[in-house]
């Protein structure tokens, strides 16, 4: 399909409700057609899942430029692996697993062990931590809280961050998170509870500091 045609096409509905056990019919059909060599079907498949992939990479990496790199690599891997995908099975866990692995590699290449430095989050490194004096003198509004939580995510170790992103932001069940990360449910529960405690303490500490 020509690029212009692709761009003109109305965006497709973004994926099924996460956690559903059923395979989205549209996705399964697109996989089948892509396996038969239908390039248009593959591009439609990309459109169907690109938001999920980019959003997950962004929350894992904290920077849009790195997230775009990870999303690109994930979707190219989908292209390379399309013949091995079982259309009868949900594609989402496969994509999550790949995007988590790719984001880990991209993050390590960009900044060592941590995904990103604490003070350079989102939008190509723009500081994310600025919370106005107004915001901190009254109970934090959702937007301010969201920024702090996003900043807190950046402080988490990779595995805890991945668990929280998949469980709390992407809405996967604990069992699904465990499958994606190749861990046991018990391990994921532990990672999630530890991460939430850390996030709470971080947000609290930042609020105190600004007062």
């Amino acid at each position: 399909m020509l690029a212009a045609e692709w761009e003109r096409r109305a965006p497709m509905a973004d994926e099924r409700e996460l956690g559903s056990a059923s395979v989205e019919p549209a996705s399964a059909e697109l996989v089948r057609r892509a396996q038969a060599g239908d390039a248009v079907a593959f591009e439609a498949l990309v459109e169907l899942h690109e938001r999920r992939v980019l959003r997950t990479a962004l929350r894992l990496l904290g920077r849009l430029d790195l997230a775009e790199d990870a999303a690109q690599e994930t979707l190219v891997r989908l292209y390379r692996s399309i013949q091995r995908i079982d259309p009868a099975r949900d594609l989402a866990p496969w994509l999550y697993r790949v995007v988590v692995n790719v984001s880990r590699d991209v993050g390590r290449r960009a900044g060592g062990g941590r995904f990103v430095p604490l003070d350079t989050i989102e939008e190509g490194g723009r500081p994310e931590m600025r919370v106005s004096a107004d915001e901190v003198t009254r109970p934090l509004e959702l937007e301010a809280e969201r920024r702090l939580v996003r900043a807190a995510l950046a402080t988490l170790p990779e595995k805890e961050r991945a668990a929280v992103v998949l469980r709390d932001i992407e809405g996967l069940a604990t069992r699904e998170v465990a499958e994606v990360l190749g861990s046991s449910e018990g391990t994921v529960r532990s990672q999630i509870s530890t991460a939430r405690v850390k996030i709470r303490r971080f947000v609290e500490a930042q609020g105190e500091r600004r007062r």
């Binding site: 690029a3 692709w6 761009e7 396996q35 593959f42 591009e43 990309v46 459109e47 690109e50 938001r51 992939v53 980019l54 959003r55 962004l58 929350r59 849009l64 997230a67 775009e68 690109q72 979707l75 190219v76 891997r77 292209y79 390379r80 692996s81 399309i82 013949q83 091995r84 995908i85 079982d86 099975r89 949900d90 594609l91 866990p93 496969w94 697993r97 790949v98 692995n101 934090l140 959702l142 809280e145 969201r146 702090l148 939580v149 996003r150 709390d168 932001i169 992407e170 809405g171 604990t174 529960r189 999630i192 509870s193 530890t194 939430r196 405690v197 996030i199 709470r200 947000v203 609290e204």
Partner: protein, 256 residues
């Protein structure tokens, strides 16, 4: 806080990840602990903020950028291959078809004026051949070579070196590369030309490329599954006019 042991339980409770017994114990504690109720409220707010991150719109420019980059990247990628029958297996099948066609053409062009005379022996000399059936047995060098190779394969420990074709087969099996098909073809083309009758019989041969014991498709596993995926064993079956005469040529995953 004095209630550290409940902090983790509170962190799991915000998403309903406690079992019934744990949840009951926590409720009992919360009823009498204002400090933990405050922590629970804070965790709830954080949880709402986390969920809101998932609802945030992504910059449309970023999605366009990713699409364009994916499109550019896959434009330089080779066509994804089907793992069910590897390309080389199809190439092997195609080579066999080409071989048959080549032999037919050779036999037809050399025909009656060729070096060999048409044989008066029956086309299928089952009673004359120790295998019971065959492609003309010892009277036909090509047929004898093929039967010899088949017999040797049945014995599963063949000494194929006495036959040029068998030697080529053995050589092809033992090699790691995938040039065995071409080598066999070359060997057969070096043998004597076929009579028109031979050519006629070969012209009726059917070639099948099929998969032995179809390997089930792997689950949707990323990288590890990609690395672990092995090409399936493939067999080329040459079935002649006579239903009793079938030549199997099994290729392992390395093409040997």
């Amino acid at each position: 806080m004095s209630c550290d042991r409940f902090e983790r339980a509170l962190a799991l409770d915000v998403s309903g990840d406690l079992n019934e017994r744990e949840a009951r114990a926590l409720r009992t504690h919360l009823a009498g602990c204002a400090q933990c109720r405050e922590v629970a409220a804070r965790l709830e707010r954080n949880q709402a903020a986390l969920r809101a991150l998932g609802d945030q719109e992504l910059p449309e420019g970023a999605l366009r950028s990713v699409r364009a980059r994916v499109r550019a990247a896959i434009a330089s990628e080779p066509e994804p291959r089907s793992p069910l029958v590897p390309v080389w297996a199809w190439a092997a099948g195609a080579s066999v078809v080409a071989l048959v066609a080549g032999l037919i053409a050779w036999g037809v062009t050399t025909g009656p004026s060729g070096q060999r005379q048409p044989s008066s022996a029956p086309r299928i000399a089952g009673s004359e051949h120790p295998e019971g059936v065959g492609l003309r047995g010892a009277q036909d060098p090509v047929g004898a070579e093929l039967v010899s190779a088949r017999s040797a394969k049945r014995r599963n420990g063949p000494d194929l070196s006495s036959s040029p074709v068998g030697a080529e087969l053995a050589s092809a099996r033992s090699r790691e590369d995938r040039s065995g098909v071409e080598t066999l073809e070359a060997a057969l083309q070096r043998s004597e030309p076929l009579s028109p009758e031979d050519a006629d019989q070969l012209a009726r041969a059917l070639v099948y490329v099929s998969q032995l014991d179809g390997v089930p498709p792997p689950p949707n596993e990323p990288d590890e599954a990609e690395d672990a995926a092995k090409p399936p064993t493939t067999v080329v079956r040459l079935a002649t006019q006579d239903p009793n005469v079938v030549i199997y040529w099994q290729m392992d995953s390395n093409g040997g």
